[in-house]
Amino acid sequence: MTKTDSRTEKSSFLARLGRFREINVLVALILLGLYFYWRRPDIFVKPANLAVIMRFIATFGMLAIGEVLVIITGGIDLSVGSMLAFTGVITAWMMLKGVGSIPPIGVLPAILITLTVGTLVGIWHGTFVTKLKIPPFIITLGTYLMARGLAANITRGYPQVFDSGHPFLILGQGDLARLFGWHGGGLFGAIPISFVILLFIATIVYIILNHTPLGYRIYAVGGNIEAARLSGVNVDRVRIFCYATSGFLAALTGVILASRLGQGTPVVGSAYELWAIAAAVIGGTSLMGGEGTVLGAILGAAIMGVMQNGMVVLNLSSYIQDVILGMVLVIAVVYDTLRRGGSFDFLKKWFSRPA
């Protein structure tokens, strides 16, 4: 596991680099970037375009971090795409219309309530998975259906649109230049606020995974849940924490997306959970559990973001874009499996004459 390997003390810098799994993804990312830059230097590195990529990474990076936590413990969270829609809608609903007889509330309270709701849904998932032994696939699939249905029911299908200039919109649409009133900030100023939030969240989750007892226990539960339990780990609590974090991050992303779009709409975020899982997997997370890192999740999201944006810049048809992204996912996983001790022996078999 890279988590362990990168901690290795007595080894040369190069040896450490070789074992550092994310380096592969990073190299791929740089090559991709160079390729698109070479093809369209005029568009690809413009601050405005880079901001688009960063927003993409912010959305899927955040969701992928949640998935990584859940997947390390051997679970899966299929609800996040629908949760985006649900949390976006309730945020807008609370700010614009108010709930029942309660009048609309301020931006901050509405966001806090939404994040709490997301976390509670995550705890709900975790509780079903741990206490009732319901497969995570099933319980989160239930929410997948319910959350989007509720979102549509609340809005009766109509999006809840913010007026332009609503203070809430800064969260998703703003960048550092606008936030601090800089002028002509260039690339640095064009960094979206959502991307900064992602870096903040990533740092916190990184610290949890690598510098707290909880992080060790998360990997332990993923590695062998019975051995972890017999070592005194409260395995239920660890798993519930991971689902809760995934729910929280889905809600946070939902709020940011609602702000970005200027509306709470039940149609947002369709199939985002699968994209987030793909990002996690491209970043080296094993669906078998026990393996995965925050950095990997972000790099995985970055690969997908750069690919997707680059293909738009190159004017590829959107149908072909999906085909290529699917291929990238498969290639990434096959490469990683082989790198980790699979072998190319089967090729020899195919290409050699029978003995």
Partner: protein, 517 residues
């Protein structure tokens, strides 16, 4: 041994893994109808050699001859085609299929004509029954495997090997999960195989069994063959000396420790149909041995004490005060450590490093402000116990899966010692580990007892029980059959209680009488 008789010959096999020369220049011969015992410490290369023969690994150099023909084994299927079958400690059987379906898995007999699409179940069961009868296993072929005992599953595995015309059957620690009478049944099967001209390679840690069943002994040490002799020329002392390369004194011997006041009291521990009304007291500095046949409820009892499984009734007292233990976490808090029977599935997280494994139970003791992990402190503690227990690793970051059985077991012990427990429960602490590591674990247990730790040791090896225990609790069919003092205990007496022949001081015979307690 004439050349024609050899069904398997191995010449100069070598195999290296990163950082380890697992085998160097090993020779091996096996004649038809011969039972060859392959012995050696863990890490000596037995398993590697067997995996090469069964096609799981490829050799680096060397030659393999099957029936006089040189062969290059390319994979498990190929090995099977060559007539080499291996029976692993963990069985490869589908529990929800019948014995017959397992025996003919992927080679099920078909009906004629269009019926080829369907399995001819009757024929399959008849054929399977013939194979089972051939080895003297009294199992109906239609029985579901999940309803079979461990020993019976082994027979199914053997029948499966015969179904593909195996001429060489390799058994990796076949007796480690068997009770005494089941071992005898297995040996009968092996004798039957022998008469039919099948060569058996038998890997075991129990020397006593080697002398009961083997025709010849081959000893491996550090990847090299260090001895081969007919059983008539071998003695246990000679074999052990070859295995370890040094003289071994008294293997099992507890040093004197001061036995203190009662530490752990268990009263009326019960789980329906498994454990009934188990009561005993463990004192400071005492090693209490748990003896009994497989299935007597020893593991179940200690798992309940540790909170790993729920109990229906019973009280646990520590220092005379009742404690509630409903989960392993509670047990930890009460100062109880538990070295489980199945170290690779329950004791360790194989994918994590030695450091992380040792740290896991004591993470909370190594934090600043209960949140931030003190990694330097963890490393220091882990290194301290790695040194103390003489765990042989290149670095703390080495993954547990790459350690030998003995070093894995020492790692499990280390993770509990790092917590400084007052009570240590050890379930089969030396099963499947080499003689050297075994002696080290025994010495360690002695030292712990001298430090005032109370130890419960479940063991199926009577010499270990007799050598290490201050008192011996014998279980039979879920109950305490007797608690014996070290002085009065003998192998015969323990077996008499364990098998239910003797109950509460009186010999029961011939039919088992109802217990008096």
């Amino acid at each position: 041994m004439s050349e024609q008789n050899l069904i398997l010959r191995v010449e100069g096999i070598s195999k290296a893994f990163p950082g380890v020369q697992a085998l160097s220049n090993v020779d091996l011969e096996l004649a038809a109808g011969e039972v060859l015992a392959l012995v050696g410490e863990n890490g000596a290369g037995k398993s590697t050699l067997m995996k090469i023969l069964s096609g799981a690994y490829r050799k680096d150099t060397g030659r393999i001859f099957v029936g006089g023909q040189e062969v290059e084994i390319t994979g498990p299927r190929h090995a099977q085609q060559l007539g080499i079958a291996i029976i692993y400690q963990e069985f490869n059987l589908a529990p929800n299929l019948s014995a017959a379906a397992n025996i003919f898995m992927a080679r099920e007999p078909r009906r004629p004509g269009l019926g080829r699409l369907f399995v001819d179940r009757r024929q399959m069961e008849q054929e399977a029954q013939k194979l089972l009868d051939r080895i003297g296993a009294r199992i109906p072929a239609s029985t579901l495997v999940r309803n079979l005992s461990v020993a019976e599953r082994q027979m199914v595995e053997i029948a499966k090997a015969l179904a593909v015309d195996a001429r060489v059957i390799i058994m990796d620690e076949p007796t480690s999960a068997l009770g005494e009478d089941e071992v005898e049944k297995l040996f009968e099967v092996i004798r039957t195989l022998k008469q039919q001209g099948i060569g058996v390679i038998f890997i075991t840690h129990r020397l006593e069994e080697v002398f009961r069943i083997a025709d010849r002994i081959v000893v491996l040490r550090d990847g090299a063959r260090v001895g081969s002799m007919p059983i008539q020329e071998a003695t246990p002392e000679k074999v052990i000396q070859l295995m370890v390369g040094r003289e071994v004194g008294d293997l099992f011997h507890k040093q004197k420790a001061e036995i203190g006041p009662p530490l752990l009291e268990v009263r009326g521990l019960t789980r329906r149909d498994v454990v009934e009304n188990v009561s005993f007291t463990l004192r400071r500095g005492e090693i209490l041995g748990f003896a009994g046949l497989v299935g007597a409820g020893r593991t179940e009892t200690v798992r309940m004490i540790f909170g790993a499984d729920p109990k229906d009734a019973g009280d646990i007292l520590i220092d005379g005060k009742p404690v509630t233990i409903e989960s392993p976490r509670d047990a930890l808090a009460a100062g109880i450590g538990f070295v489980p029977e199945d170290r690779s599935n329950h004791g360790l997280i194989l994918r994590l490093s030695v450091l992380e494994n040792i740290a896991l139970p004591s993470l909370d003791q190594h934090t600043r402000l209960r949140v931030w992990l003190d990694r330097m402190g963890l490393v220091k503690t882990a290194q301290e116990f790695v040194n103390k227990l003489n765990i042989r690793i290149a670095q703390l970051q080495q993954k547990a899966m790459f350690l030998s059985g003995g070093n894995q077991q020492k790692t499990v012990v280390a993770k509990w010692l790092a917590l400084r427990p007052r009570i240590l429960i050890m379930d089969e602490p030396t099963r499947g580990i080499d003689v050297g590591a075994k002696a080290e674990i025994h010495a360690l247990m002695s030292r712990l007892a001298q430090d005032g730790v109370g130890i419960i040791m479940v063991s199926s090896e009577l010499p270990e029980i007799l050598g290490m225990s201050d008192r011996i609790l014998v279980m039979s069919e879920g109950r305490v059959a007797a608690i014996l003092d070290r002085e009065e205990a003998t192998q015969e007496l323990i077996m008499a209680y364990a098998s239910g022949e003797k109950v509460d001081g009186q010999i029961v015979s011939p039919a088992p009488a109802p217990t008096t307690s």
